[in-house]
């Protein structure tokens, strides 16, 4: 089979897969629209985080999202166990405490990001210095054993300077 034909085949498969997913999502939306409304309201901070986080991995948004979800889950379970219904949804989201818990959990996720950063920064600095000491020591050993020629030739191969 030619390369172009293979590419066409792959594109067709991907298209058919996304159609399935959209159909599934529409089905879920239709079946659990009350729960989804509850979640949408509860996870507004995550949405904001997704908008603010410009990194491709969206790690900050994920950090906020995980805890935000954990904050929403108890009321979601209450909603399911109480039998559901629009009235119940608005009852839950009408309580300031509920929203406070949900949003505080999201804020904890955000706070975690800022709390971890100095530790990580310090760790990276120490690790980098340790690594550089090791590499410099090895370079010194090589120069002692093989002479300056190893530095000249090695710099040529490594493309940098010790």
């Amino acid at each position: 089979m030619s390369e172009a034909a293979e590419r066409n085949e792959e594109t067709k498969k991907r298209r058919s897969g996304s159609i399935v997913i959209w159909l599934l999502a529409a089905g879920i939306l239709f079946a659990f629209y009350e729960s989804i409304i509850l979640m949408l309201v509860g996870m507004i901070p995550t949405g904001i985080a997704l908008l603010l986080d410009r990194s491709p991995q969206k790690d900050q948004a994920r950090s906020v999202g995980y805890l935000n979800f954990a904050g929403c889950l108890p009321w979601m379970v209450d909603f399911w166990m109480s039998g559901g219904g629009f009235a119940r949804v608005f009852e839950i989201i009408g309580e300031p405490l509920v929203l406070g818990v949900m949003y505080c959990a999201a804020a904890a996720g955000w706070g975690l990001c800022f709390l971890v950063r100095p530790f990580v920064s310090t760790y990276l600095l120490v690790a980098s210095e340790l690594k550089q000491t090791q590499l410099t020591k090895r370079q010194t050993e090589l120069v002692e054993l093989w002479g300056e020629a190893v530095r000249v030739d090695g710099d040529g191969k490594g493309g940098g300077k010790a």
Binding site: V120, S128, V150
Partner: protein
């Protein structure tokens, strides 16, 4: 090679006795404070010597001049001759000669029991009568020459002054022939004792000759003894030669003497100037046995109808003209250039063969018809093609030329003349003109031609030095390093350098110079052209030291000489830069330690192998390339770390987000599980 024929018993072993005496070969003791002037031989001094095992045995030692290559190639054969009528040669060696603070060769002989028979060249003694001459001189000397002939040797030192009485009675004591090994053949012979052609040659260039030379010298000796004086005494060498040329040797020596009629035959036979017609041992024996055979009359050379005047003297024979031209070189060139010689040859001599030979000499000597020194040299050969080469002051028989070049090496004119002789194949030209020369001269001429390419190369190990050492097995190494030593053969080379290393330590600039390289190249059995090429291309001390060490290692291996720790130490120091080829410092240290250990053992081949091991060099190079790659990787790693340091804020933000996300995920997972458990239970 002389070094190989030397017996183990004669291996060099010299020690200085506390009394000042020099012990030679652990067997003889030479006493510098007891000179024996009555046994001096020309410039060579004689000293009393004793045998350590038999102190009563009377011996004497002669110290050959280190500048003269003596007859090392035949000395061991001469030792084998045990004849009561010959002063017996017992041993030779190179000794530490304390009076001159240098090493010199010494030859030990049995000491004759009486004085010289003929004290000096111009002496007068009671004339010998026929019977005593036959009984005391001719018969014993015949036996000696028979012994020499049996070993294919020639004496070349037979003269009245070299005869000794073996007792105190000048009338009855037997007569002994003196030594013949301490100088080049015929070197000490006055011109009167030499054949005309050898007399024309420089004393050092008379060549080995053949038995006929000895019989001629015997004839002259007999004539002098029967006359009680030298009939040609008082004449210059040149006059002696001219008289012999003009009259023939027999007439020049014997005509003025009163010779017993019965002896005329023997004198005619022995003094015949034609080598092929000269009496030898068989004819002399037959004459002694009473079979009187009349020798052939000597053919007189053609004489010209009018003389050619050279140097103010008239000459009428081609042979004499050739000699006169060579003695008056400038005038000779003018005579050849001006055509006077051609005119004399055509109109005066009328000898077609000589005229043709001279024309050949002139036509082949120069392509541009320029009459130069080489042309004259060829013309002289053409006029007298008897095996004598004359180029200005270089005058040698074909077989004596290398020896003369060795003796006269310091003289640039001599070197140039010898080089010209080889380059223009004068020996080949000479042997091509006549078929009367001995076959060995034809072989020598071919050997000279073979050596020519080596001589033409100017690099170290070749050139004129190589030609001299290749053609002259007796030539000692003339390296300036050995000014106070005597390196007669290859086996003495490395020990001499060892002595030098002990004296100078590591202060050598060059351990192999042009002479040593040429000497080793000529004497070694293996080809050292690659090493010589490396020496030629050497640009620094190391580039020079390694091939030099290889050559000396080959010499040590071939000659199986004793260990040389001092020389090894010196060479190890010189080879220090060679260790730079090994890039690994610890490997260099290890090889350096090994070299120091090997240096103590005195083995040059092991030293060279330690520093010049191709397998180790290849391994070192491989490991170096691996180290270079590793260094490159570490440099790259450091570069990456620097990049990370520069962009630490962004990286730290990214990683902390990931960590926070991870922690958040973990916490939320726990929270979800707890929620589910609490709500459901």
């Amino acid at each position: 090679m002389a070094g190989e024929t030397k017996s183990d018993a004669m291996a060099p072993s010299m020690t200085a006795d506390p009394s000042g005496a020099v012990v030679m070969s652990d067997r003889f003791q030479i006493e510098p404070d007891r000179p024996l002037p009555e046994l001096d031989c020309g410039p060579m001094k004689a000293y009393a010597a004793t045998e350590l095992r038999d102190a009563k045995r009377g011996l004497y030692a002669l110290l050959p001049d280190p500048a003269l290559p003596f007859r090392i190639d035949v000395i061991n054969s001469i030792r084998r001759i045990d004849n009561n009528s010959l002063v017996r040669l017992l041993a030779w060696d190179v000794i530490d000669w304390s009076p001159e603070r240098r090493r010199r060769p010494a030859i030990v002989f049995d000491r004759p029991h009486g004085p010289r028979l003929f004290p000096a060249p111009d002496a007068r003694i009671e004339p010998f009568r026929e019977e005593p001459l036959i009984r005391r001189v001719i018969l014993p000397l015949c036996q000696v020459l028979d012994d020499f002939a049996f070993l294919s040797l020639v004496h070349r030192n037979i003269r009245a002054e070299n005869l000794y009485l073996d007792g105190s009675d000048p009338v009855r004591s037997p007569i002994m022939l003196g030594e013949c090994a301490s100088t080049p053949p015929g070197y000490l012979q006055p011109v009167v004792y030499e054949t005309i052609e050898c007399g024309m040659a420089h004393p050092a260039g008379r060549g080995e000759g053949c038995a006929a030379n000895d019989f001629y010298a015997l004839g002259v000796t007999m004539a002098i003894l029967i006359a009680g004086r030298n009939p040609l005494a008082g004449m210059s060498d040149r006059d002696v030669i001219e008289q012999k040329l003009a009259m023939g040797s027999y007439a020049a020596l014997v005509n003025a003497l009163r010779i017993p009629t019965a002896m005329i035959e023997v004198f005619r036979g022995l003094l015949n100037d034609d080598e092929s017609e000269r009496w030898g041992l068989d004819q002399l024996r037959a004459w002694l046995d009473g079979r009187r055979a009349s020798p052939k009359q000597q053919v007189r050379p053609s004489k010209a109808s009018r003389p050619l005047e050279i140097g103010g003297r008239p000459y009428i024979a081609a042979r004499a003209v050739g000699e006169a031209l060579s003695r008056n070189w400038g005038e000779g060139l003018e005579l050849v250039r001006g055509g006077e010689l051609d005119q004399w040859l055509r109109r005066g001599l009328s000898d077609e063969d000589r005229t043709e030979a001279v024309n050949t000499a002139k036509s082949t000597a120069s392509e541009e018809n320029v009459i130069d020194d080489l042309t004259l040299a060829r013309v002289c050969i053409a006029l007298d093609p008897i095996g004598l080469i004359r180029v200005k002051d270089f005058r040698a028989m074909i077989d004596g030329a290398p020896r003369l070049a060795s003796v006269g090496f310091a003289d640039e004119a001599m070197r140039d003349a010898f080089a010209a002789m080889l380059r223009h194949n004068l020996a080949g030209f000479c042997v091509g003109l006549t078929s009367r020369l001995r076959p060995e001269l034809h072989r020598l001429a071919a050997a000279y031609e073979r050596v020519n390419p080596s001589m033409l190369r100017e690099e170290i190990g070749f050139g004129i030095e190589r030609a001299i050492y290749s053609l002259n097995p007796n030539a000692p190494c003339r390296s300036p390093l050995f000014e106070a030593d005597y390196v007669a053969d290859l086996s003495l080379l490395v020990p001499a350098l060892e002595r030098l290393a002990k004296a100078k330590g590591a202060a050598f600039d060059a351990i192999i110079d042009r002479h040593i390289a040429a000497f080793a190249g000529a004497r070694l059995k293996v080809n050292i052209v690659p090493e010589l090429r490396e020496l030629r291309d050497a640009r620094d001390r190391f580039g020079y030291a390694l091939p030099a060490a290889r050559i000396l290692a080959l010499v040590q291996t071939q000659t199986a000489c004793e260990p040389v720790p001092a020389l090894c130490g010196t060479i190890a120091a010189m080879l220090e830069p060679a260790l730079a080829r090994y890039r690994n410092a610890s490997r260099r240290d290890s090889i350096r330690e090994r070299m120091q250990e090997i240096a103590k053992s005195g083995r040059l081949d092991l030293l060279v192998a330690a520093v010049d091991d191709p397998a180790t060099l290849a391994l070192d190079e491989r490991e170096f390339q691996a180290a270079v790659a590793e260094y490159g990787m570490t440099a790259h790693g450091i570069e990456r770390l620097e990049y990370e340091r520069t962009n630490r804020a962004a990286i730290s933000r990214r990683i902390s987000s990931q960590v926070a996300s991870l922690l958040s995920g973990a916490v939320s997972t726990v929270a979800v599980l707890v929620t589910i458990l609490v709500k459901l239970i």
